[in-house]
Symmetry: C2
Subunit: 333 residues, 2 copies
């Protein structure tokens, strides 16, 4: 706490680090108490909010620019999975102190991502906390009215599809925590770096948003674990699914760890923090969707089929036998 | 942390406590990853975000329903000061544990205010934190395009006006912390309760939003102290102001404390947490604005005049002499 006759610490901090990021006209240069968003004609605004907390969703010694990128990207991932185009975001920073080196790097990473994803800072709030550091972002997307893609909508016969690779972030977190993956990759610095980067800086699939909007019957991003998130999508859609576990896309690093017995497919599909898009597309529309994904440069893999029923999705091994997963997802509670 | 095959702790918590509050169609019953907001024809969306942290903006033993009301109302106050009508909000709850009694009371208070202010829950995120408990809300308002009222816009000759009474919340906080106000009001339980209530449950002036939109040249809500917030409004408008300190509206309880020497006008005008509207209105429009305030049932007081210049506002005592305020506002940093 401080009291002075000059601009408060908060105002000075905002002016120095965040005003340069407030490039949208509706942000009013962060000089006002509120921002303005105006959807285009026939559009509506998609809103999502996700917070990350030090020690829970990121590690306190993660580089500050990656913390900023992760905070924004976990929200961009939701915007992408809903078929919307980024429109801007507001930021709440709960800081334990004003550390200029940390804030400077944080703002740089945030600004670079805001620019590259076309998602400008619109406003925010900075509060003091005894700890831990946490970052809450509410992000906005634009979508043609009524065209947001929902979790509900998957139909029996649809393909179950996922982008990118699954499980890398959970392995990266294990490395950062000095777990068994760190030991297994003791001599593989490149593998370690790849997996850590997947944990720290997810790659939201905003390039695929238009195709998801045009072709998917249902979609969500994978944040808490592929298995658990598919269960949620199926529950919302009133369907079940069969997943072919050997089809789940994994990275070369994850494949090596799997072959060494250092991890399990269950760890990968329940690990969380993937920020890939999980979606369902009818067989009739699949080729066109796959072609769009190819044009967008986003890897897309069929991992199973939506079936009728209300049971939790079933996961089949290479022999077609059901694998009982002891856990489906990661929960912080 | 827990892992199970049932709904996660977070999902169960949301379903039990917050789904009943998600009454807007665009909330999709909190069953999706995002919400949708659609402004009416010719409208745009005003966005504001404010967080409150236990031990900083509220006290950990404050009743949970008042914590919820405060978290929402500090945002509603911004919406009102910008001349907008409430449209909904998203909530990020950072919880240290799942305490059903606390959450149940919190959700009840939040739901009652959401209903009475016409500001439904649209979505949110619940995260685990080692502490402290914190609540971040992003609230939305509707306003005719281009009609948001800014901090900038005050003109020399405008009246400086403020709603309600100033300084009560700072006195209430002092009581809760067992400070000198608590001792001064040792025998006045009703006075203590009134001031504590002003700290815990601010009264945002959403009833005045339409009049602010129609008549004010500039406006903001008073959150960090009247003196410092007026300084910000003047800086944004490129003007200065003269404030007649004896005109600043104070409650009967504050007036008694002032006459006893238990507090000072400086404490009242720099204390923060008032959540009243500070605005400027031209002399020509003042009568009409005052009439609207009367119809809305919101007390409104002229406390000074906007003047040309770039100096900080000056505060004059009953003799017209300038009072040098040692502090203008409250900063947590």
């Amino acid at each position: 706490m401080s009291d002075d006759r000059q601009a408060s610490g908060e105002d000075a901090l905002i002016a120095r680090y965040f005003k340069p990021l407030a490039t949208a006209p509706g942000a009013f240069g962060l000089d006002d108490d509120a921002a303005v968003i105006k959807p285009g004609s026939g559009e509506e605004i998609v809103v999502t909010t996700d917070a990350i907390v030090a020690g829970v969703h990121f590690l306190l010694d993660d580089p500050p620019d990656t913390v900023a990128r992760k905070a924004l990207r976990v929200n961009l991932s939701d915007i992408a999975a809903k078929g919307a185009e980024p429109a801007g975001f507001v930021l709440t920073l709960a800081l334990t102190s004003i550390d200029d080196a940390w804030l400077s790097a944080f703002a740089r990473g945030l600004g670079e991502d805001a620019t590259s994803f076309g998602c400008p800072l619109l406003g925010g709030d900075t509060v003091s906390t005894p700890g831990p550091l946490s970052i809450s972002i509410t992000a906005f997307g634009r979508v043609a009215a009524g065209k947001m893609v929902h979790r509900a909508g998957a139909r029996p016969g649809d393909r179950v599809l996922v982008t990118g690779t699954i499980g890398d972030a959970a392995l990266g977190l294990d490395i950062l925590k000095g777990g068994q993956i760190a030991r297994a990759l003791r001599d593989d610095g490149a593998g370690r770096d790849t997996l850590i980067a997947r944990y720290r800086v997810p790659q939201p699939r905003n390039a695929l948003a238009g195709a998801v909007r045009d072709f998917a019957s249902a979609a969500m991003d994978v944040s808490d674990g592929l298995a658990g998130d598919l269960r949620k999508l199926c529950a919302a859609s009133g369907v079940s699914a069969l997943v072919d576990l050997p089809s789940v896309p994994i990275s070369a690093a994850a494949a090596r760890l799997l072959s060494q017995g250092a991890t399990s497919i269950e760890t990968l599909v329940s690990g969380g923090d993937d920020y890939e898009i999980l979606c369902c597309v009818s067989e009739a529309r699949f080729d066109a969707f796959a072609a769009e994904a190819g044009r967008a440069g986003v890897a897309l893999t069929s991992i199973g089929t939506v079936i009728a029923g209300h049971d939790a999705p079933r996961f089949l091994d290479a022999q077609g036998a059901e694998t009982e997963l002891k856990r489906l997802s990661f929960s912080h509670f």
